[in-house]
Symmetry: C2
Subunit: 704 residues, 2 copies
């Protein structure tokens, strides 16, 4: 199935050794053998036990040292000490992959961490891959290769299906499998990575995507490791038309960290994680139930062409409630064509609503074929991308066979045209949801959860429609010397050299030189020093100066204020044209040690940290992604001409963000932070009015 893959021996082993096998099926070493038998694993099973010749009817080896050549997978279930020896023996015997279920390693203490490093060293020395230690193992439901002790496998017979569960936590993998079973669909892989000494969630996601039987990956992570591999996996998913869904826990922990003094410092881990996952089309869920619900849609449905929803219900109230949630979640209500309305009017009872939501009314009890005629009309409307079928079926009087047939037929037919069909079935007929699910129709018993999942699905489809940004060309960007903060003047010189539109200005060493600066008045005078990041608070900024006398006086005052505050070195004063009108935004960049370059676009002014009106972006950026970010800002209406004002040059802002992000990404981490704030968006162009660049200390902050 994936024989040429690095992890093939782990995901699809033909032979499995169980080191620590037991006759007692209550023990882990016994349970494993039982699972392999119950799940019908047809390959070789080799129990290893130092004291027995046979285990559960299979001939046993006394030691892993006696393993034959060419064993694909060994599972180690012994205590930690014995596990180390076993892993070393397996590695020596040329076993291709090893699952270490034993605990007592890095999760415990420093000794455990050392022991874990020895496991990895032994494995790597012989080219053996290692899952765990301290993990609940892995299973392939197509082959029956279940090498896990999770109760998942004792509770109910898990079926093969289009999902791979890949989780750092075994308990969470178990819950996801239980939800998958509840919704009557199956899974191909079940994997829990534990300590991730070698194989990570990212690598497993990448690997399972190669299996043609896998359509959706349900992932659970508490920390994102092996980021380049995750990026590769996300790209592979996109290429193959598959989806990676993820709960990333620990979302709020980082958010509590206080905002720093710069816009760039706002890029806290959670916002970076969020931006990273969005950037790469990984669909994020906040709970296991949400993950499971999303999976139902991704397992059964093709991408949609848009986000305009047509709702049909047998209860006007339910339709309205779902319309409310749809609009709140970023979907749109489709405006039906006159033709659709006429068709509906001809079919429906006179008192039914033929707008959107369409209400077929309780009449469906008497005329179960109402949906037969309504659904295709709605799905054929060119303005409808998504059909939400809202069924409040509470009694036995409904003909649910007909309803199931109608909805399932539509779901199958509409997908080819990029139209999604999803169902909320609220009330006392769980059998209806079961039947629809069995026919491949994504069905929810929670009306709001249905709409939210559909909204996330539509966002993912929009991401798929958007072309991927071109990989940044290897531009050589000018970089400054030294380390630490640059002065405003040096920062702006650098930004100018990157081709950014910076406000015209000159550095003047003395008040007389300042007065002589040949720029159109009014002017601005600011203290210029690498040590004066917060000039306004120092009283070291003077705005709106007209006439050389005013400029000279301001320069003298600003220099005096700087000296009084003990600022040094003072490079002089920066004399600049004063920018008037427009709207202020801020543009920042931070080099994240894990995720690399991040760019922050937000509303401008000193209060960006307070108002938290910003969007984080991960280069390389597509134009569409930047346009979306600009639209997502609360101040966006100000840019497009709120209250009758003239619209501003949003195109120039988008250009600026693209160029800035491309240049910043090319620095390779040499500049940990840049803060351009404010940037004025004018009716014609944009202009950077303040800039602060920090240069990495080469000894401590080497970039990627």
């Amino acid at each position: 199935m994936m024989a040429d893959h690095d992890l093939a021996a782990l995901l699809d082993p033909k032979s499995i050794a169980v080191v620590g096998a037991s006759d007692d099926p209550g023990k882990i070493g016994g349970r494993l053998l039982r699972f392999l038998s119950e799940y019908g694993f047809a390959g070789d099973v080799l129990p290893v036990n130092p004291t027995r010749d046979a285990i559960q009817g299979l001939p046993a080896l006394r030691s892993a040292d006696h393993l034959p050549d060419g064993v694909d997978l060994a599972v180690v279930v012994t205590a930690a000490d014995a596990a180390r020896d076993a892993v070393q023996a397996c590695a020596r015997r040329g076993v291709r992959a090893c699952v270490v279920l034993s605990s007592g390693f890095a999760e415990l203490d420093a000794d455990g961490e050392r022991a874990q490093r020895e496991l990895v060293a032994a494995a790597r020395a012989h080219g053996m891959r290692l899952l765990g230690p301290n993990c609940q193992g892995i299973a392939n439901l197509a082959s029956g290769a279940v090498t896990s002790f999770s109760s998942s496998f004792t509770n109910f017979p898990l079926r093969d299906g289009p999902v791979a569960i890949v989780s750092q936590s075994g308990a969470v993998a178990g819950m996801l499998a239980a939800l998958q079973h509840q919704h009557a669909t199956g899974l191909r892989y079940w994997a829990a990575t534990g300590n991730e000494a070698d194989v990570s969630v990212a690598e497993l996601i990448d690997a399972v995507l190669d299996d043609p039987g896998v359509r959706v990956v349900q992932a659970y992570c508490e920390h994102l490791a092996d980021v380049p591999r995750l990026v590769a996996a996300a790209e592979k998913a996109r290429r193959l038309g598959k989806a990676v869904l993820m709960v990333k826990a620990g979302a709020t922990e980082a958010g509590a960290k206080a905002a720093g003094s710069h816009t760039g410092a706002l890029a806290q881990p959670e916002v970076v994680v969020e931006a990273f996952l969005r950037r790469h089309g990984v669909v994020r869920a906040r709970s296991l139930t949400e993950l499971s619900g999303l999976s139902r849609i991704f397992e059964t449905s093709a991408p949609v062409r848009g986000n305009r929803v047509g709702i049909v219900s047998n209860s006007g109230g339910l339709g309205v409630m779902m319309a409310d949630v749809a609009l709140t979640e970023g979907l749109e209500l489709a405006e039906l064509t006159d033709g659709t309305r006429e068709t509906l009017r001809a079919v429906l009872p006179p008192f039914a609503a033929v707008g959107n939501p369409v209400d077929v009314t309780g009449q469906i009890v008497q005329q179960p074929h109402l949906l037969t005629r309504v659904l295709p009309a709605l799905a054929a409307d060119p303005w409808v991308d998504i059909v939400l079928v809202a069924l409040g079926i509470v009694g036995p009087t409904y003909d649910i066979d007909t309803i199931t047939d109608d909805v399932a037929a539509l779901h199958a037919e509409a997908a080819a045209r990029g139209v999604l069909v999803a169902v909320a079935s609220v009330g006392g007929r769980p059998d209806l949801a079961e039947r629809l699910t069995a026919r491949g129709v994504p069905t929810f018993d929670d009306d709001a959860a249905c709409v939210r999942a559909v909204a996330r699905f539509a966002e993912h489809s929009a991401w798929l429609r958007r072309p991927l940004p071109a990989v940044a060309p290897a531009v050589a960007v000018p970089l400054p010397e030294g380390a630490g903060f640059l002065s405003e003047h040096a920062s702006k010189e650098l930004m100018t050299s990157w081709g950014l539109p910076v406000v015209p200005g000159r550095l003047a060493a003395t008040p007389a030189a300042a007065a002589a600066v040949d720029l159109p008045h009014p002017l601005v005078v600011k203290l210029c020093s690498p040590a004066a990041a917060h000039k306004t608070e120092l009283g070291a900024v003077r705005l709106g100066l007209t006439g050389t006398a005013a400029v000279e006086r301001a320069a003298a005052e600003v220099l005096a204020a700087g000296r009084a505050a003990g600022i040094e070195p003072i490079e002089g004063v920066l004399v600049e044209r004063m920018v008037r009108g427009g709207v202020e935004v801020s543009l920042g960049a931070t080099w994240d040690p894990v995720f690399g370059p991040t760019v922050l676009l937000g509303s401008g002014g000193v209060h960006v940290e307070v108002l938290r009106d910003f969007r984080l972006l991960i280069p390389p950026l597509s134009r569409a992604a930047v346009v979306d970010a600009v639209r997502a800002l609360a101040i966006h209406p100000l840019l497009t001409g709120a209250r009758g004002a003239a619209p501003l040059d949003v195109d120039a802002l988008v250009d600026l963000v693209l160029r800035f992000a491309e240049r910043f990404a090319a620095t390779g981490g040499a500049l940990p932070e840049i803060d351009l704030n404010p940037v004025f968006v004018l009716s014609d162009g944009v202009v950077v009015a303040d800039a602060l660049v920090r240069v990495a200390d080469a000894r401590h902050e080497e970039g990627a």
Copy 2:
């Protein structure tokens, strides 16, 4: 039970006539008799049918005119024309209440609306109350008085219980009943009000709260009618320790439009509805599933003393995910005491987490009594107000009897101390959730939904702890003459007369008079006219003027700008002190035709509509409610001293809002709108810098 109540005959009838009774249980008139028998109604049942002497074994009357004296309730199920006659006959015969299931009235056309008015007139003429028409009826599950044709009653035997379902939509009432049945709890009342020609949802909520058996009302509305009655009901609920939960559909503009086409009612502004419900402690849900989940907590739990959550799980991952959702939803994670941690450390395995979330680990399989010791320790911690038990129980190996006993015991015990216990049970053991529910423990199969419902419950408890605002004293507020907008000067004079701190200023008719104004410079000069609402856009404002010459010149320019723009009448120029420093907020008031006075507190400046950083309040206001509103603003950190700035005088802002709201409420609607923007919050006090008052045209806008 509630014999002295106006709606007693509707809610607890002793005798029921069925006008349009039928022998065919498939017909509505037959189904009703079957339900009354199946649900064990012990009172008199009087079928009325023009052609039969007996119906379903009961002696029948030929006409409603033959009804005996003193019938409590008549249900009319005939066609619309016959229904009118039947209602009139019932009214003449002294029937106390009438349920009109027949449709073909106001929901259909103008003729229907006329016919409906006749029904109401006939009923009122004889003091008969009327539910409907075009409704699905009402049921009392304690007495078996089921006078509804909803399939709710055919699907499963609904049980008596602590909930009343009161809905404008019969279909929605049916779904709510189905959800209530699914979660194995019961309901006392089921009511669907249809066209609400007489009895409204608000009046029914008010009435069912009088029943000692009702603890929670689940309400569904598309339009809030009879607002004073709803306020009275909300106050009664608070007094009696009961809760009103509501889905108000039509929250979005399009949703409201859809609801409007469904009910013919006008859209109600969502921000006002939201503020109104919050103000009165009506707990809002966005979907029926959410409503049902909230109900589970309110049915079984006493109010909590705070919002600090302690989480215990058997899966670290599940605990972390729930912590994420808890923080996002406004709950706090409790910081456990050292004592609690020590207890936990003594009880738990060495590798378990004793912080919050507490992770008892998979060890619970081997030691089912782990929770027995962990739960009381957590619930006894003085910093824990809410215990969330997160169970990922996927296999048959767990001792769920012990777990159920432990959790149920804690739930019962903790409530007395104001500590809430709720459970999320995710995975393959639905029997665990069933057992916990049967023991009265609020249990959810969706981890995030559990946390969200708990967060709403904690907010309601906080609302209960907050004293109700004193009813506004009947202050006589000064009101201006005339109609339409007042000039800024007149507006400010009015606000000054209300005792609000307005920036010092004088009206000057000429530039010379302006120059002579005796106020400390710098000054501000503004054109003053009732016709110049947007002065800045006109160029009719000059800031920061120092020296009489500058003031005189500015006044001349401003007057010229006003005349050039054709503004009239021009009262002169307003010369004021210039306010510097502080933070700008806006304070507005609108008199809503349905909800009365509303007060808006938001961030200041010209862009308040764009940034939507505001909170709407409904007087009378408590100080705590205003403090909460201030805290909810995005700019709140600026008021409390962001970035090391000095904190501003938030107390003075709260005083201003309270006084303004009290005065505005006392106007009785004479002033449809007031806009104070900006109001400067300074380090010592607040000052109103601009004001615009509109006076109602007495002919068109008479206040309440």
